[in-house]
């Protein structure tokens, strides 16, 4: 064996030849084959894999849509309808892409909730969590720009309202808006740059997802108990246990997805977006897509424009500081009776904001939004920092295996070959 070649354990000679020069198969085996994973994941741990699949679906369908789409104000709407009518299975590709955006946000919101509930943001996974927040911000930008592309009424007016937000910033605000628009109103240059960026950003997301997964494979996964694995008895290899468990989740996810695409493809959209954009006619109520509604409600809860913008962006940027705002040492809400209730109230506040965001900016919705917004921020800025000191957590289990198997964990006996063969890593 020549010096400098990787010592590969791959048997197949062709794969081995590659692996000795570029050990991707060894890496795949290590990271997705034998990777030691806590044995007690519940189905909430499917959602990372689901988000990954969803991203790939969006990119695949998006590439095909871009082959038929025309980014010009005079043709965009018609080119989308041409995809729906004349492109072979164009309706399928577009409805998958369109509902795929909603599915992506459903999946990612559940993924984020999983992180909040089981304390996955806490040391040593702070950076992993922060990379996730970056992905979410990129997703929001991508989704927003994608929604503009069909150039319907909501595309146009949504773009006008959201880009105008930047004008609230003092001094540089107006210049930012001009830069976003590529002119002095939302027009063809805006559509062109949004299309370009909408094609670019998903690949940036792929890059950050790679970092997110890389960071995960350094710290290892959190788990529903929120305690670290203490030895090989607490973990199982990723394959076959979690590959098959993820497969179950993927099929269920695809069923929900397919039901939307095939039976109610326009349910989550707004009918006004099937009216071609008209700069001279403002829709009665301008509402963003459902996944932006909570943040839209926060924006409108504040009477001051700059204040609203700051709170809206702040409502997500605050997630970056969450690992330090939550002062409790206990990760999983299972053992935090008060924080658990506080988090569930926070989730309710999130849905209340979503509801208010879909309503016109009038009473009582504004007042309700203000209360929900106040709680949204209080959870991070007051409740979590204080509970770390005040709350008395329930006793934590001794170990994962003890919690899963009870007394049997100490009973000895023969080990399953797959689990025993798994190398122990720093957990």
């Amino acid at each position: 064996m020549a010096i400098g070649l990787h010592k590969s354990e791959i048997k197949n000679p062709v794969l081995r030849w590659v692996d000795e020069r570029l050990p991707i198969f060894t890496m795949l085996h290590k990271e997705y084959g034998t990777f030691p994973t806590p044995r007690n994941f519940n189905y909430f741990w499917n959602f990372g894999a689901l988000a990954m699949i969803n991203l790939l679906i969006m990119i695949a369908t998006g590439v095909f849509l871009a082959m038929h789409y025309t980014p010009h104000t005079a043709y965009a709407f018609d080119s989308v309808e041409r995809i729906m009518r004349d492109v072979n299975y164009g309706w399928l590709i577009r409805y998958v892409h369109m509902n795929g955006a909603s599915m992506f946000f459903i999946v990612v919101y559940i993924h984020i909730f999983r992180g909040l509930y089981y304390g996955s943001y806490k040391a040593p996974r702070e950076l992993l969590w922060m990379l996730g927040v970056v992905i979410f911000l990129l997703m929001m930008a991508t989704a927003f720009m994608g929604y503009v592309l069909p150039w319907g009424q909501m595309s146009f007016w949504g773009a006008t309202v959201i880009t105008n937000l930047f004008s609230a910033f003092p001094i540089i605000g107006d210049d930012i808006v001009t830069l976003l628009w590529g002119g002095f109103s939302v027009d063809n240059p805006t559509l062109n740059r949004f299309f370009s960026l909408h094609y670019l950003l998903p690949f940036v997301i792929v890059g950050v997802v790679f970092l997110h997964v890389a960071a995960l494979h350094v710290t290892g996964s959190n788990n529903p108990l929120g305690i670290e694995p203490k030895g090989p008895q607490d973990t199982i290899p990723f394959h076959p246990y979690y590959t098959i468990k993820d497969t179950v989740g993927i099929v269920v996810y695809l069923m929900v997805f397919a039901f939307l695409v095939f039976f109610m493809p326009n349910y989550l959209g707004h009918p006004d977006n099937y009216i071609p954009a008209n700069p001279l006619s403002t829709p009665a109520h301008i509402v963003p897509e459902w996944y932006f509604l909570p943040f839209y409600a926060i924006l409108r809860a504040v009477p001051d424009k700059l204040g609203g913008v700051v709170l809206m962006f702040g409502s997500i940027l605050i997630w970056f500081f969450l690992p330090w705002l939550d002062t409790s040492k206990v990760r999983s809400m299972r053992f935090r009776p008060i924080a658990r209730v506080a988090l569930l109230l926070w989730v309710i506040a999130f849905f209340v904001l979503m509801y208010c965001g879909s309503k016109p900016a009038e009473q009582p919705y504004v007042l309700i939004s203000q209360i929900a917004t106040a709680y949204y921020f209080a959870y991070f800025l007051v409740i979590l920092p204080a509970l770390g000191k005040l709350e008395k957590p329930l006793p934590l289990p001794e170990s994962i295996s003890r919690a899963v198997l009870g007394e049997k964990a100490l009973g000895g006996g023969p080990l399953p070959a797959s689990a025993a063969a798994m190398p122990m890593e720093k957990a």
Partner: protein, 258 residues
């Protein structure tokens, strides 16, 4: 955790269910027309769609374009090729330029789009008291509860209740946001003569034209639903298999200590 999940699912469902109810303005909620295509496995009634096309052509097309449709699309609602060729040929289409550089008129072909009644929006407004009759290609998916809405609108004209002052040239229709609509009541008993002998009541014509418009807005509907059923069956089987395998693979972990 299951309880929390259920609660969250319920909350999400409630929130989403309430979302599409927005932006309706103050209009009366549409009546349910009980259309054949309304439920999730429904199909378009071909005879109704063909009659609806006749209503569109003889009544609506005087003001409303359907610029996204081509004559060839009419084959999908069961008209024969001869019928559609004859319909297309009844229209004069500007083509060109020819070898001398001149534009010329020719009879329409299957590949031609439906002709628009007005050359541009300004002309349409000038002819309609300032109002712009919208293009009807996707009107059913461009309105909340589109099919029932258009059906209710077409059959819902009435005299204004006392106290309502109508604008100049406006008409009262409680299903239209605001109640005042520029379009006059256009459907009158016996206005068209259906070849299949169906009596042309206002309700019948409204139902038929809505069926036609619903097909025009989403011509892929039937194919989409058929494919959807096959996909769901496939996924259901795949799901059962995947879950079975999962149980099997995990069984050893459940019974033996690690």
């Amino acid at each position: 955790m299951t309880r929390i999940l259920t609660a969250l699912g319920l909350l999400a469902g409630l929130t989403l269910a309430s979302t599409p109810a927005l932006a309706a303005g103050e209009a009366r909620p549409p009546r349910d027309g009980h259309f054949s295509f309304a439920h999730i496995f429904g199909t378009f009634d071909r005879a109704a769609a063909q009659r609806g096309f006749q209503v569109y052509k003889e009544v609506c097309a005087a003001c409303h374009s359907m610029r996204l449709l081509s004559f060839r699309n009419l084959l999908e609602i069961g008209l024969s090729e001869q019928q559609v060729r004859a319909i297309a040929a009844s229209v004069e289409v500007t083509d060109g330029p020819n070898e001398e550089g001149q534009m010329f008129q020719r009879p329409g072909r299957l590949s031609d789009r439906f002709p628009s009644p007005f050359p541009n929006e300004q002309a349409a407004r000038a002819a309609n008291n300032g109002a712009y009759p919208p293009d009807l290609s996707v009107i059913i998916k461009a309105r909340h509860n589109g099919a029932n809405y258009v059906y209710s609108l077409l059959t819902g004209y009435q005299d204004p209740p006392p106290g309502v002052q109508l604008g100049d040239g406006m008409h009262y229709n409680p299903y239209f946001p605001g109640g005042q609509i520029a379009m006059a009541s256009v459907l009158n008993e016996g206005q068209v003569e259906f070849a299949d002998g169906t009596p042309a009541t206002v309700d019948q014509m409204a139902r038929d034209v809505v069926t036609f418009l619903a097909w025009a807005a989403e011509p892929e509907t039937e194919q989409r639903r058929r494919m959807g059923i096959r996909v769901m069956i496939f996924l259901a089987v795949a799901g059962v298999l995947a879950y079975g395998v999962k149980r099997r693979v995990w069984a050893e972990l459940k019974t033996k200590p690690a």
